[in-house]
C-alpha cells in the first residue's frame, strides 16, 4: 500500500515499464519450466498441449530434498515473493515473512514461488502467445481453476525432483491453493498453512469480482479481449476494477485511520468531481499503478478461478471429505478485521479438518488492517508462522527456522 516511485512518471518511462512487463509474459527473467507437447489437463475439459511455468527459488534444497516450501501467491501477486520485482523494482510482496532469519527462513528452507496458471508474469495465461496461432491467447485461453493452478505447480515440483514438500504456504487465493494441495496431493504435503482464505468464494466475493470484470469489459479499449493484438489497453477498466477490489482488502477502521475525511492538497472541497478526498486520490493511485504491472484478461481469468473455487462441491458436498485421512499438519490463520475472508470462513476449514481427524492449529490474529494483513508487518502473525513451522520442522526432522529476534526495546 506504500506509494511507489512509478507515481507521476512521464509517458516515455511508462512505455519502458510496459515493455518490461510485456517481456515478462513470455520470456520472464525468472527460472522457467517449459512443457512442450506435455499436456496439462484442465477442469474445463481440455488440455494445454504446450505450456510453461515461471518460478523463483530462495535458499538451498538439502540432500534429502526434504526442506522445500512452496509459496502460493494471491490474485494479483506473482512469483517475486522475496526478490526485487523485475518490472516495478519494488521489494518482494512477502519480503517481511520470507528471507534469511525470517519466519519462512531461507537459511534453512528451499523456498519456491511460481506464477499461477492464468497469470501474466511468465506462466501461461491469456496474455501469453498461443503457439498454434502466434497471437496472444486472449479469451481463447481456456478458463482455469484453482485446481488447475495446483496441478501445474505439482508438475513443476515433480520436475524439480521433489517427492514431498515440507510445507505449502499461501494467503487469500494462495490459501485456496494450499487447501487444494492438501486435498489433492495431501501425501506430498507435510505441513499446510492456509491464511485469510476460505473453502469457497462467497456470493459477496463473487459479486465484487463481477463488478471488477464488468469494469474491464466495459472499457472500449478492451476490444472483446483482443486489445494486445489491436494495440490498445483497457487501463480505465482495469484501474476501476482494482479500485473496487482494493476497498475489500482493507478494513473500514484502517481506511478511516489512514485517511479519514482528509482533503487532498486543498483546504476546501471544489464542488466538482476531482479527487477532493485523500482516499479518492489513494484509490486512483492504486488503480493506475496496478495497470502498469498487470494484464486485464489475466485479471478476468484469475478472479473467475477464485469464484469457481468450492472445495465442498468437489467432494460430494462436504468439505471434510476433502481432508479425509489427511496426514498433513495444518495451521489455519485468520484476521479479525478481514471481511473478505472473515474468521467464520477459516473456522469452517478448521471444523472440516477436525471432522476429518486431521492435525490442525487455528490462530485468529487481532488486527484492524483487514484482509491485506497477511502481506503486512503483523508481529503476532509472524510469530504464529514461525512457531508452526518450527514445530513442523522438528517433527519432520529438518532444521527449524531461526528463533525470533528479541523484540525492539
Amino acid at each position: 500500500m506504500t506509494q511507489t516511485a512509478t507515481d507521476g512518471t512521464s509517458d516515455g518511462s511508462a512505455g519502458t515499464l510496459e515493455e518490461r512487463r510485456h517481456g515478462e509474459v513470455d520470456r520472464p527473467s525468472s527460472a522457467l519450466a517449459k512443457f512442450q507437447n506435455d499436456p496439462l489437463p484442465l477442469d474445463a475439459g481440455i488440455a494445454l498441449p504446450t505450456w510453461q511455468i515461471a518460478y523463483q527459488t530462495y535458499g538451498t534444497l538439502n540432500d534429502t530434498r526434504s526442506n522445500a516450501v512452496l509459496l502460493c501467491h494471491a490474485l494479483t501477486g506473482d512469483q517475486h515473493a522475496a526478490n526485487r520485482h523485475p518490472v516495478t523494482g519494488r521489494p518482494g510482496w512477502w519480503d517481511n515473512l520470507v528471507g534469511p532469519g525470517r519466519p519462512v527462513d531461507t537459511d534453512v528452507f528451499f523456498v519456491i514461488c511460481a506464477n499461477v496458471l492464468g497469470g501474466c508474469s511468465g506462466t501461461t495465461g491469456p496474455a501469453s502467445i498461443d503457439p498454434t496461432t502466434g497471437h496472444p491467447y486472449g479469451l481463447t485461453m481456456p478458463v482455469v481453476t484453482v485446481a488447475d493452478m495446483v496441478r501445474a505447480q505439482h508438475r513443476l515440483i515433480e520436475r524439480l525432483g521433489i517427492e514431498r514438500l515440507f510445507a505449502v504456504v499461501g494467503g487469500s487465493m494462495g490459501g485456496m491453493q494450499v487447501l487444494e494441495w492438501g486435498a489433492t496431493y495431501g501425501k506430498k504435503v507435510f505441513a499446510a498453512l492456509p491464511i485469510a482464505t476460505g473453502t469457497r468464494h462467497s456470493s459477496q466475493n463473487i459479486a465484487f469480482h463481477e463488478v471488477g470484470r464488468q469494469a474491464v469489459m466495459a472499457d472500449p479499449d478492451w476490444r472483446g479481449g483482443r486489445y494486445l493484438d489491436e494495440g490498445t489497453k483497457p487501463k480505465k477498466g482495469l484501474s476501476v476494477a482494482r479500485m473496487a477490489a482494493h476497498i475489500t482488502y482493507v478494513s473500514e477502521a484502517a481506511l478511516h485511520r489512514k485517511f479519514g475525511r482528509a482533503l487532498q492538497d486543498r483546504e476546501v472541497v471544489t464542488y466538482g468531481f476531482d479527487a477532493d478526498f485523500q482516499i479518492e486520490s489513494y484509490l486512483r493511485h492504486q488503480g493506475s499503478t496496478f495497470v502498469d504491472r498487470f494484464d486485464a484478461n489475466s485479471y478476468l481469468y484469475l478472479t473467475r478461478a477464485m469464484d469457481y473455487f468450492d472445495l465442498a462441491a468437489e467432494h460430494d458436498g462436504l468439505v471434510a471429505n476433502a481432508f479425509r485421512g489427511s496426514e498433513t499438519r495444518w495451521c489455519v490463520v485468520s484476521f479479525t478485521s478481514d471481511w473478505l475472508f472473515p474468521t467464520t470462513e477459516s473456522r469452517r476449514i478448521v471444523h472440516a479438518l477436525n471432522a476429518a481427524g486431521a492435525d490442525v492449529s487455528f490462530v485468529e490474529i487481532e488486527t484492524d488492517k483487514g484482509h491485506d494483513a497477511f502481506l503486512l508487518e503483523e508481529p503476532e502473525f509472524h510469530r504464529a508462522v514461525r512457531g508452526f513451522l518450527t514445530g513442523a520442522a522438528r517433527a519432520h526432522g529438518i532444521a527449524p527456522p531461526a528463533p525470533a529476534p528479541a523484540p525492539a526495546p
Binding site: 473456522r347 477436525n354 471432522a355 481427524g357 487455528f362 490462530v363 485468529e364 490474529i365 512457531g387 522438528r394
Partner: protein, 208 residues
C-alpha cells in the same frame, strides 16, 4: 477457557494424576489447554500426539508459537465438529465449571474420546463450605482465587453432584481421585461424603 492459566503450573497437582491416567503413545485432545503446558508435559512424559482447544487468543498464539497443535475455539461450540472416538483421551482440566452447558460438553467429550479425563474444583470442600457459612460471601481459595464478579467459573459443582450426573448419563467412573489442598490423595477406602468434604479437587477417568 483460560481458567487454567490463572493457576501457576506448579500448583496444578491434577497434572500428576492425569500423567498416571494417560497411556504412553496415545492420542489426546486437551480442551481448554491454555498455553499448552499439560500438552507439552504429556508429550515429554509419554510421547503422546497432543491437540488442544483454547478460547483465549493469547493462549493459542503462545501454544502455536511453541509448535503445538492448538485450535482457537470454545468447548461449548466447537466440539461438535469432531468425529466419534477421534482421540484415546479427551482431557478437560479445571474447565468444566467454566462452560455454559457442562452436560453437553461432557456428552461431546465422551463421544470424541475413547476415554475422558475431567478434573474440577470441588465446591463441597470444607473450606469453601466454612467460608460461606462464617462470612456469608462467595468463597475464595488458592484454586479459586477470583471474586464472583470476575470469575469465569459459572457452573460450580461438588464431587457428589458430578458423580450423580455421571450416573444419570450412564457413564462409568473408571478411576476417581480426590486431592486435598497439599495435593495428596484421599484414601480410596474413604466414603463419598469424606471425599466431598476433604477433596479440594477431583480427577475422574470416564468411559461410556
Amino acid at each position: 477457557m483460560n481458567v487454567a492459566q490463572h493457576i501457576p503450573a506448579a500448583r496444578r497437582v491434577d497434572y500428576e494424576v492425569i500423567r498416571e491416567l494417560v497411556e504412553p503413545g496415545s492420542r489426546i485432545l486437551d480442551v481448554g489447554c491454555g498455553d499448552g503446558a499439560l500438552m507439552t508435559m504429556l508429550q515429554e512424559w509419554h510421547g503422546v500426539r497432543a491437540s488442544g482447544i483454547e478460547l483465549s487468543q493469547k493462549g493459542v498464539n503462545d501454544a502455536v508459537a511453541r509448535g503445538l497443535s492448538v485450535v482457537q475455539g470454545d468447548a461449548d461450540t466447537d466440539l461438535d465438529a469432531y468425529p466419534d472416538n477421534a482421540f484415546d483421551y479427551v482431557i478437560l482440566s479445571q474447565t468444566l465449571q467454566a462452560t455454559r452447558d457442562p452436560k453437553r460438553v461432557l456428552e461431546n467429550l465422551l463421544r470424541i474420546g475413547e476415554r475422558s479425563i475431567v478434573s474440577f474444583p470441588n465446591f463441597g470442600y470444607w473450606r469453601l463450605r466454612l467460608q460461606l457459612l462464617v462470612h456469608g460471601q462467595m468463597p475464595r481459595t488458592g484454586l479459586l482465587p477470583d471474586p464472583w464478579w470476575s470469575t469465569s467459573n459459572i457452573h460450580f459443582c461438588t464431587i457428589r453432584d458430578f458423580v450423580a450426573l455421571c450416573d444419570d448419563m450412564d457413564v462409568d467412573l473408571l478411576r476417581s481421585i480426590a486431592l486435598n489442598t497439599s495435593g495428596q490423595r484421599i484414601p480410596l477406602n474413604a466414603p463419598w461424603w469424606f471425599w466431598n468434604l476433604f477433596g479440594e479437587q477431583a480427577v475422574f477417568l470416564l468411559h461410556r
